[in-house]
């Protein structure tokens, strides 16, 4: 195989990835520092409100991520191009990370606020269910060896899982409004510096998310290339040079 030159090209990451990474770093640092230092303690929540600057953006980005999984899954089923499968799986992995983080942060916020680590708050509860749905997605992938079948099955699971997002959210919300419950309410201060900081942090997290998913997808592509090459070597019985 004499296409060492071609393959060297394929090794390179997408040209937008590195700039995005640097932008993410700058944006996140700036947004976090601004939010942390500039906003004043909330009348009700005190300094604890600062936790929202990581909790809310994480939740937002996780939700976006699952939508991306949905789109990539549909694209795979339509086009059958494995790059969409790699994108879907990468987006799931990163979103699961942020979902877990959202739950942990919600709990950390809740403990000093309500005295307990968990209150079946509707949004956190829905988030926990979404976490389980997508952990199932990842578990399914880990048990399925054939890459084409794995892609098809993951896509099906990814599509149905996302369809359930609004249903889970609304049903849990109705379920909880039958009883008085403390909720993580961040909507009382729209337009204030607090809300603006939330938005800025959410935007910064989106850039971070884009970088993480892009990097993860790229790595998946590299590893697949390596596997494909190894398979070919095994099949043709030729000796590797390394």
């Amino acid at each position: 195989m004499s296409n060492g030159g071609l393959l060297a090209e394929a090794h390179r990451q997408p040209h937008w990835l590195a700039p995005t990474g640097w932008l993410a770093l700058v944006a996140v640092v700036a947004a976090q520092v601004t939010g942390f230092l500039i906003s004043r303690p909330d009348r009700v929540m005190g300094n604890l409100q600062k936790i929202m600057y990581v909790h809310v953006p994480s939740a937002w980005v996780a939700m976006l991520g699952f939508f991306l999984v949905f789109v990539a899954s549909m694209l795979y089923l339509w086009r059958r191009d494995l790059k969409y499968d790699r994108l879907a799986a990468s987006a799931t992995e990163v979103s699961v990370l942020f979902t877990g983080l959202t739950l942990a942060l919600g709990s950390i916020w809740g403990r000093p606020t309500w005295g307990i680590w968990w209150t079946w708050d509707p949004r956190l509860t829905s988030t926990a269910i979404m976490l389980l749905i997508y952990v199932g997605y990842l578990a399914l992938r880990s048990f399925t060896e054939d890459e084409e079948r794995r892609a098809r099955w993951s896509a099906a699971v990814g599509v149905l899982g996302f369809l359930n997002v609004p249903i889970v959210y609304f049903s849990v919300k109705w379920w909880r409004t039958l009883h008085q419950v403390q909720t993580v309410d961040v909507t009382g201060t729209i337009g204030s510096s607090y809300a603006i900081s939330l938005i800025i942090n959410s935007l910064a997290f989106m850039v971070l998310f884009a970088w993480l998913v892009g990097l993860r997808t790229h790595v998946a592509g590299l590893e697949r290339q390596r596997e494909a090459w190894l398979e070919e070597q095994a099949l043709t019985g030729s000796e590797a040079n390394v």
Binding site: L132, L140, F143, A156, V157, L160, I167, F170, S171, L178
Partner: protein
């Protein structure tokens, strides 16, 4: 359209008449359901009032835990003797396969419930017969959604070595809205509240069933082909 219906009927018939397996399995599942009902009683009782409060939840969890065992089995036949390839060779929609298996599983689980629900009413002192009509409706709606998603995910899980873990892991999180709706509706009915929130929960069940029947139908062909 007729040919389709006949194909579906053939699959229902085939699945339900794997005689030896089906009958033994039915008995086992029914006894397991009874056992689960008892276990809940031991775990939560003996205070009668507490048991009455959680009866709806116990009922539906029992349906879920016992019913889930029947879904992987509905693909076992095909897996064992390569019958899946043969089934897929026949002309006609993958969808007929899905609907056929769904109906067979639905019948199976409903029959289990016919035995299990009166038993639950006995153990937990529930006014079953007074509210038999609305309860039957809720049971039917809840079971349809359960069996739809169960049949769908089992198409994948049954082909994995970790099938006993993967099916519940994939299925149960998806069933949360259905569980919540069914339990709330059941509880509401048993308390005599047949309007208002109970009706809203029943609507949720209908919407859930519709959305996931269509979605699973659409996605099934991607999941069953080899």
């Amino acid at each position: 359209m007729n040919a389709e219906a006949r194909r579906i009927g053939a699959i229902v018939w085939k699945d339900l008449t794997a005689e030896r397996r089906t009958k033994a399995n039915f008995n086992a599942v029914v006894f397991l359901a009874g056992l689960i009902l008892l276990l809940f009683g031991f775990a939560i009782g003996p205070d009668g009032q507490t048991m009455e409060l959680i009866a709806g939840g116990v009922l539906w969890l029992t349906v879920l835990f016992s019913g889930v065992l029947s879904f992987n089995r509905s693909y076992e036949q095909e897996l064992e003797n390569g019958a899946l390839e043969m089934l897929l060779l026949y002309p006609g929609d993958r969808r007929s396969i899905f609907v056929g298996k769904l109906l067979a599983n639905l019948l199976f689980v409903l029959l289990v419930e016919v035995v299990m629900v009166p038993l639950a009413a006995l153990l937990y002192d529930l006014p079953l017969w007074r509210f038999i009509a609305p309860l039957s409706l809720v049971l039917l709606l809840g079971t349809i959604g359960f069996v739809t998603l169960g049949t769908f995910y089992a198409a994948m899980a049954s082909r994995l070595r970790a099938r006993e873990v993967m099916l519940p892991l994939l299925l149960f999180p998806m069933l949360v809205p259905l569980l919540v709706g069914a339990v709330q509706a059941t509880g509401g009915i048993l308390n005599g509240d047949l309007l208002g929130s109970t009706a809203a929960w029943i609507r949720l069940l209908v919407v859930f069933d519709l959305i996931f029947f269509v979605a699973a139908l659409f996605a099934f062909e991607y999941v069953i082909e080899d």
